[in-house]
Symmetry: C2
Subunit: 432 residues, 2 copies
Amino acid sequence: MTSIDDTDRENVLTAVEELLPELQEFVGDLVAERSVLGDEAGAQAVVRDRLEALDLSVRELNADDVDGIRDHPEFSDTGHSYESRSNLVAERSGTGEGRSLVFNGHVDVVPENDREKWSFDPFSGAVEDGRILGRGASDMKGGVGAMIFALAALDRAGVTLQGDLAIETVIEEEAGGFGGSLATALAGPAAGGAYDAVVIPEPTDFDMWIANDGVSYFRVTVEGKSAHAARTDDGVNAAAKLYPIFQALSELHDERKTSVHDPLFEQWYDQTVSLNLGSIHAGEWPSSVPDEATLEARISHAPAETREHIHTVVEETVREAADDPWFDEHPPTVEWFGWRGSSAKISTDEPIIHAVQDVMGTMNGESQPKGFPGGIDSRFFVNYADTPAICFGPGAHNIHGTDEFLPVDELERITKAYALLAMEWCGYEEDE
Amino acid sequence: MTSIDDTDRENVLTAVEELLPELQEFVGDLVAERSVLGDEAGAQAVVRDRLEALDLSVRELNADDVDGIRDHPEFSDTGHSYESRSNLVAERSGTGEGRSLVFNGHVDVVPENDREKWSFDPFSGAVEDGRILGRGASDMKGGVGAMIFALAALDRAGVTLQGDLAIETVIEEEAGGFGGSLATALAGPAAGGAYDAVVIPEPTDFDMWIANDGVSYFRVTVEGKSAHAARTDDGVNAAAKLYPIFQALSELHDERKTSVHDPLFEQWYDQTVSLNLGSIHAGEWPSSVPDEATLEARISHAPAETREHIHTVVEETVREAADDPWFDEHPPTVEWFGWRGSSAKISTDEPIIHAVQDVMGTMNGESQPKGFPGGIDSRFFVNYADTPAICFGPGAHNIHGTDEFLPVDELERITKAYALLAMEWCGYEEDE
């Protein structure tokens, strides 16, 4: 059940349908901008034009203008300066009493990788057979279009929200979100702009991600001793020394997948957390004993665990596996590097979750709250802005792979859902 | 005991001493030419000038002119064309009855690698504190100078050899010797130029290498199945699959070092053969399950073993270690790649060995026959030209490392040894 009047509902849904060709064109224009990490400006310009066409005043929120962001525990330097790489924030004030809502979408995309493997231009943006084609169509330029055109549809239908609505488009989510949603989450409340809920159009297939695992990358380095191949026993083979550590970490994964549980995660996959041994590298040449071996891995931790705990567990596992006199003088090192993300979780009782479920119910659908086994931007709002945040969007079609696309019917459906959600959450009035 | 008359001996040794400044300068000039693989021409030009100054006619022997060399089982393509990369052959005919001798030295050097680590210019060629400094001084531009100046000293002392003497300077020994000594070994007999012995000035520290291990490189590739880190168990970690194979090959080394013996090798090192696990590589990114893992290794085989045997042993070891249902559908592959060298061994009764020992005896020294645990150019003459060949040269001082040098007293001593060896082996007459 929603509080939305049937006629108002129909008017808004009709407005979305009328705007659909324009929406497809907008998403296509956005896909055509190859907005990989560092190159988000072109996509943001496309967004800005559209937001201004809705009579919104668009503010640039640059990570460099957020005090202390570089000292934030979740910040990592991606190696790209923030010059010409601002987030955009546009706010539509409500009439007064309603709850406020933020739609927050990222405009960056992962690279297309091997273009030869695509069966169409990765930055086509064309619509064929009812699908918008190209990198980012699902993740998440379709969703960004939907959240903007939801507001356009409300305007077209003469619906005015009671609560404030903000639209944020952010950068570098695919690299961790440091200068993107971390910046907007930190700046929002500081500027007096705390909101009552945040919705992020990740391609959740119309379910909701209301929790996520934390993620850490670590590198184990083991020292050996070089020697010529003909005298291999004069050396110490670092790759051989690494093996028991590799094995112990593999066993740690097995242990954790049976001992760490969160039902939000396990309703759609049989593990809450994982430890992935992503690479091992040792030596460069058959004729030398490798004098160094490295292992790089990704470990996730559940919302109920802390980063400190998981780091301790890994470091102890490595230390215990290094059970060999060689290691007394040459202890393996563990470095935590690169991307890191906190875990987050909101209560299943949060009103925003019920609002989404109510809206989807009126559309003959449903939306299950789930946990996502990795980093998502919602964690910044939950952990650092005390704001309930969820991911809720269309399907994920070949995201991060080749031939990414988004079915137009999913684009239409999520746009309708966003428009109705804004009405349901913020409350609304019809224009005179 | 040698057959050399005391006075003749003294005259020749004196001639070497008189030529020593000129010899040092020549070696310095040769060191100053950075004759790494592919860039041997400058060094060969320095050699040619000197050989012509000895009234020798110098012939270019290019690998491209040796019929069928590219089909030879020992040939590998280094990726460098042989244009402007000839070997040089200069022959001095003897007066008649004596045994013939070849001095064969390579003019290429291994790269200097990190120049910053050197305490002097790697291509200095200067003499300081009684040492000739620079890459190649020991391996083997000093030896090349010694073999040329041995002939110069004989000329200066008025000694004419009875047997023919050839001086060969060759390319790409450090890369395997395919277009170098393999070419001269194959061309020699074909051109009617079979000799009775070959001496190569490798830095043997005045001992002799009369045998060598064969060497093969191989690569084991194991297939896995990629998956995102969050679903690591949906993938198959290729690095984990590689481990039992790594372990089995490590055990093969342990087994072979106790079961394969040749006393020529074990008098100076406790193993005859080795299997070195030189590199393992799997995965590029902590967030993905690695879908391929490779191991590269070098295995040596003793003179009593064949390459075919050792290949079979490795392939069977890998097959047996791949004892896992995954491998039924995804068997590991073994490729033999890159450098390969045959093993070789001559009898300790070969007269050239005794000749060297006799000469060294007259110089208050000795020379032990040994086996070398890798590829040396002598194998080509032994295996493909039916000619006894040994390596015999000065000390090895930081060869293939930083700050390579050669003590001038070792240069003088080996030059004297070569001159006396030529007299002893070929027989001689004094000029009228």
